[in-house]
Amino acid sequence: MCSARKFYYECVFKYVREFGGTLPRGSLHFHAFQNESYRVKTAYLHAVLGPGNVDYGFVLQQIVFGLTLGCLYGLLAIGYTMVYGVLRLINFAHGDLLMASAYIAFFGIIIFQIPWPLAFLLSVALTAAIGILIDRGAYKPIRNSPRISALITAIGISFLLENLGLVAIGGRPKTFPTPSLFEGSQTIAGVQIPNLSIWVFLVTCVLLAGVMLIVRRTKVGMAMRALSRDMETVRLMGIDIDRVISFTFALGSGLAAAGGILWCMKYPAVEPFMGVIPGLKAFVAAVIGGIGSVSGAALGGLILGLGEIVIVAVWPDWSGYRDATAFSMLIIILLTRPTGIMGEDLPN
């Protein structure tokens, strides 16, 4: 046996003996480990995480959850990124559109007894209408003002929506009636995949493809892309900016509505402030992926969702820091590569 292989087995044996064969989750003995060479480290990892030692089921399960969450964040993030790309405005009220769509669907099904496919479509349409309304009412008059004013107005609209919801509907969480099609789960290779996750993934793929199609192949999409480069020139070209912007808002809000309904089926408590944290995290996802880029937003959403779930799964003692992971990622990205993963490189 050559000396390298012998060394390899010695290291494996030493570490397996020391740590009892399995890696105590969340307590890698990094300080001792870090001093070893790369080969020893790989030997150790092979010994410990080799076939039969790792709980592949657990890892896959977490990946499934992470993907679901990631798709939901991605759907929201696309709306953020489109509005920012076109208007350079961070629409703080985007998260509240999630809440609005949830409530509309809830009321449609429970009070008006509309069959759920229709209620969902109605919710998407009405939320798109609310998005257009917000744009026309609040963002259009300040389009030429400094960006701080727009940001403050967006914050104001967000709080307005949340508190209106609180006043009109009350603070007690309502249960979202999930149709039976989305309940239950499949068990594949020891991993439990909820049906809802499959649906979320499918819907996200379809909607993402649709949005990419609209942005790349249609005239409106071209106008949107042009607007994100230079608003003045687009005006000069005789394109009605207001209509394009309204269309952008409608599209973004519609996606937010879809995300909202799926979110509610996953976490069935509907309350006025439910959109705040998902909204912020979706924005983080958009920034990570590159604000202004639709595929970047989806990618950012996936990264954020997976990151959150995996970090909490590997270090369960740190589950309280879950929200902080999103913001820490944001700060790191903004400081190292502000244009995000799929964004262009800035000159300075």
Binding site: G171, Q192, Y267, A313, P316, S319
Partner: protein
């Protein structure tokens, strides 16, 4: 022009000043009408309103209850109590429904020497070393003990997983009492996880619980989180029975949880099947007539707090907060809606505990236990 303005403002002022007549006795109520535990505040308020309809007067004067919304938040609770005492000049305060908020408000009441009766705050610290704070429910040391006994004897559990809400004093204290009693009784706590109020995704905690394979899950948390937790647990294939505290008895538990919460046992204060005594039966009737819903623990305890305060005012014969406090401490064998209340000198009553279960989408009565 100015003359017209003066006349108008005088008319407006005249209508806004309270009517001359008998001055009402003002009692304050600080409850969470919005926020995470809005169900409790609203239920408590329902109970108080019906109780007020039953006993609207004391010492020949009408009773007025001023409501302050705490938004389920500690700091708002402290502010609400301050406002009630300083602005509304109340003679006694009812509230809050959850221990965390009551602890925040009790400081102010104690400092200003206004008696406070909490309907359902079960944390022992609420009345500890305070002379002006009382409660009409049991305390968590007993609740933890009874829960441990239930787990060991009735559910025959040898291992337990505890999951608690680290933002709530109630949850933290009750979990620690349960752990102590459970290990004393010979059981082993195999998993101890936490989350924060407002968390909606419990998959990390549930994954680690599932790995530990407990015989019972003790979840001394509030209804929204419990319902979602139960649902996610059952979705994951984790089928261990769930034991909870009085924080889960709200209609939202069944609405949100659906099938998943069937079979949850919990210790609580009240079930309509155990009501004896005149006052209780009359209140039940009036409640069914006015509100039409099933009364829950929090409604009944809110009513009891109101009844006991009004009774103390009657016995004291005056609206002086100090005298009210002295009569409250001397309460003996008071017939409330949820049972007989005898106040101990430290502000806690001798009170029975009820065990309920979720069966067929309703809260079913199991048994009463004296501590």
């Amino acid at each position: 022009m100015t003359k017209i303005l003066l006349v108008l403002s005088a008319i407006l002022l005249a209508f806004l000043t309270p009517a001359w007549g008998t001055e009402p006795v003002v009692i304050g109520a600080y409850l969470s009408m919005t926020g995470n535990v809005a169900a409790y505040g609203q239920m408590g308020w329902d109970g108080i309103s019906i109780a007020r309809k039953m006993e609207p007067e004391v010492l020949g004067r009408p009773v007025e209850v001023k409501l302050a919304d705490t938004k389920s938040d500690k700091v708002e609770s402290a502010n609400a109590v301050s406002r009630l005492i300083e602005k509304e000049k109340v003679v006694a305060i009812i509230g809050e429904m959850i221990s965390g908020n009551t602890l925040a408000g009790a400081d102010h009441a104690e400092r200003r020497k206004i008696p406070m009766v909490t309907p359902t705050a079960t944390n022992p610290l609420v009345t500890q070393s305070r002379k002006y704070v009382f409660r009409v429910c049991f305390i968590d040391t007993d609740q933890g003990r009874i829960a441990a006994k239930l787990a060991l004897d009735q559910l025959k559990a040898k291992t337990a997983a505890v999951i608690l809400d680290m933002s709530q004093d109630y949850s933290v204290a009750l979990a620690s009492f349960f752990k102590r009693e459970f290990t004393k009784g010979g059981g082993k706590v195999v998993s101890d996880t936490k989350f924060k109020t407002g968390d909606r995704d419990f998959t990390p905690q549930l994954s680690s619980i599932k790995e530990a394979k407990p015989d019972v899950i003790y979840a001394p948390i509030y209804y929204t989180e419990c319902a979602l937790l139960a649902k996610q647990a059952r979705d994951m294939g984790l089928n261990a029975p769930i034991l909870a505290g009085d924080g889960v008895q709200a209609p939202e538990l069944i609405e949100l949880g659906g099938e998943a919460v069937e079979g949850i046992y919990f210790t609580t204060h009240f079930h309509r099947d155990m009501v004896e005594g005149e006052r209780g039966k009359k209140w039940l009737e009036l409640f069914a007539k006015e509100v039409g819903k099933e009364p829950d623990a929090f409604t009944a305890m809110g009513a009891d707090a109101y009844f006991i305060v009004v009774d103390a005012i009657k016995r004291a014969g005056s609206c002086d907060p100090q005298k009210i406090r002295d009569t409250l401490v001397a309460t003996k064998e008071f017939q409330g809606v949820s049972g007989t209340i005898t106040m101990k000198p430290n502000g806690d009553p001798v009170k029975a505990m009820v065990v309920n279960k979720v069966k067929d989408g309703k809260f079913a009565y199991v048994t009463t236990i004296m501590p």
